[in-house]
């Protein structure tokens, strides 16, 4: 396993060691590296901080929302709507979100109750469609997001109950399903799956692979907590955030330390 020696050393001297949550935030931010001027949609605290970090560092053209109806020209107060502070640069009520995503000018980090080796994601229900063992929230926008623009996933508790052989209801579309549909789904693009243990991406056949394992995580734990076969040989360590990134996370974006609620230190 190779280690990003320079980055780790830089962050250690200036800001102390990055926490696991901060490593996850930087990995989420990296999903926006090549996005350009699109609407960043992020579900969950770590992805939200990640999108804001990207905006303040590598992806300055990103368009952020307050999670309600407003676009923010700079990150507003975390977890609060635009009315609590921040500069509004646009109005996007829910109806306009569907119009924007159909144009492709949007990129999401979503959660998943289940996800399989081809990136099929489920947030709808557990068990049988007709009489579910557990009804969850419903497919929401997952089918449309995965049909129209890049989607990444964030899993705060990596486990074999989430990474399963087959999801019970495909909400977000995976690579095998998209390939079967053909040209109409040519905008389908799943980038990465960031978890509290590692970062996955997808190989040229559309199958998930481990791209990096977070510092301090035992590769065997990643194998044990994943419900399908994965290869952890020769996998590098996930990069740690730079001193500048740590400072932005700790002092600007999340000074109250809310990130530790989603991923413990």
């Amino acid at each position: 396993m190779t280690t990003a020696v320079t980055d780790t050393a830089a962050s250690t001297t200036a800001q102390g060691t990055a926490t696991n949550a901060e490593v996850c935030i930087a990995a989420c931010a990296d999903t926006y590296l090549e996005s350009g001027e699109v609407l960043a949609h992020a579900v969950g605290l770590i992805p939200t901080i990640g999108a804001r970090l990207a905006k303040l560092t590598t992806a300055p053209d990103l368009v952020l929302t307050d999670g309600e109806a407003f676009l923010m020209s700079e990150p507003g107060p975390l977890g609060k709507p635009a009315s609590a502070g921040g500069t509004i640069e646009g109005w996007t009520p829910f109806r306009r979100i569907f119009d924007i995503l159909a144009t492709g000018r949007r990129q999401s980090i979503m959660g998943a109750s289940q996800i399989d080796a081809f990136g099929n994601q489920n947030i709808s229900l557990i068990g049988d469609w007709k009489k579910p063992k557990r009804q969850l929230i419903g497919v929401r926008g997952a089918p449309g997001n995965t049909a129209n623009h890049r989607v990444d996933y964030w899993i705060s508790r990596h486990s074999a109950r989430i990474f399963v052989e087959r999801v019970d209801m495909v909400s977000g579309v995976g690579y095998d399903r998209a390939a079967a549909v053909g040209d109409t789904l040519r905008f389908h693009h799943i980038g990465a799956v960031v978890t509290n243990l590692c970062v996955f991406d997808f190989d040229e056949t559309g199958r998930i692979r481990v791209r990096s394992i977070h510092p301090g995580v035992d590769p065997q734990e990643v194998i044990d907590q994943t419900g399908f076969a994965i290869d952890v040989a020769n996998v590098p360590e996930t990069r740690t955030p730079s001193a500048e990134e740590l400072q932005l996370i700790r002092e600007v974006i999340d000074p109250r330390g809310l990130r530790a609620r989603e991923v413990a230190n």
């Binding site: 929230i137 497919v139 449309g144 040209d183 109409t184």
Partner: protein
């Protein structure tokens, strides 16, 4: 111009068993709860409910009013799930058409435009299609692409709650998001508008710009003045969500005994009794 103002009971009396009822708002936001509570008091049953679902879906499901639900999600926002709905679903009681949110909107737009369907890319490759075998795809006449043909969600009645309306049915939203209430109104044969306040037409612009006039009286059949009529969901800027009460609702919903007490206190009463019981709840809970 006709005065369409009437009581909630008069308005809801026009809803018959077996009808398809669209409900405006989004999740636990600006839901026409006063009209829903009136519906709960009625003997109407066998409804097809079309909604971006919040607590109204749970309440109507628990009361046995829903035969079929067409939805993209059911959520209480600050609480991810509505226990009454998840329980009814897990008992297998309700027929379900579960759409992607964009598909859901396409169904409303199709109905408003008096089309059989609208094409959309969303849903392809997902299990939304196999789960809803009535859904068909349509081949583009211009290329090799094939889209989902979302059937029109034609509504017999739409129920929406807005901040202000005049007695003729011009409806105004003052909060940050109109949601899809105008699309519900256009997809419906009849729309019942409840409003925090019914004001004279020449006062509609005293609190908001002309951009806040969401839809015209052309689409309105009845106007009901219902102060705090969205409670316990949001009705920004008039009031936010009653989080303490929503939590009480969700907690009670998980326990049959507690739910019986909730029903007795808050639902087996009229609208004035409901609000009195809510006020009493806050006095005894010490929360607002």
């Amino acid at each position: 111009m006709p005065d369409k103002s009437m009581s909630a009971a008069e308005a809801v009396a026009t809803i018959k068993s077996g009808m398809t009822v669209g409900i405006g708002g989004w999740g636990s936001r600006r839901k026409p709860m006063a009209l829903v509570r009136e519906l709960l008091r009625s003997d109407v049953t066998d409804l097809t409910v079309v909604s971006f679902g919040g607590p109204e879906v749970g309440l109507l499901a628990q009361a046995g009013k829903i035969r079929k639900l067409i939805y993209g999600f059911v959520s209480l926002d600050s609480l991810p799930l509505d226990p009454l709905f998840t329980q009814a679903r897990e008992r297998g009681e309700i027929e379900i058409e579960e759409y992607d949110e964009g598909m859901f909107v396409a169904g409303l737009r199709a109905a408003g435009a008096r089309l059989d369907f609208l094409p959309i890319r969303a849903g392809l490759g997902s299990d939304v299609l196999p789960a809803n075998p009535q859904l068909k795809t349509v081949k583009s006449p211009y290329s090799d692409e094939e889209y989902v043909a979302v059937p029109a969600s034609k509504l017999d009645v739409a129920l929406v709650h807005v901040n202000r309306a005049d007695a003729q049915g011009n409806a105004q939203f003052l909060g940050p998001d109109p949601y899809f209430d105008d699309l519900f109104a256009m997809a419906a044969d009849r729309t019942i508008v409840s409003a925090e306040r019914v004001v004279p037409t020449d006062e509609l612009l005293t609190e908001g710009s002309f951009h806040t006039l969401l839809f015209s009286r052309m689409f309105t059949s009845a106007v009901v003045e219902a102060p705090r009529g969205a409670h316990f969901t949001t009705c920004e800027p008039d009031y936010g969500r009653d989080e303490a009460f929503q939590k009480h609702y969700a907690t009670a919903a998980r326990d049959p005994e507690a739910w019986a007490a909730f029903e007795k206190t808050f639902l087996q009463t009229d609208e004035a009794g409901y609000h009195a019981a809510v006020a009493h709840f806050h006095e005894t809970q010490g929360a607002s």
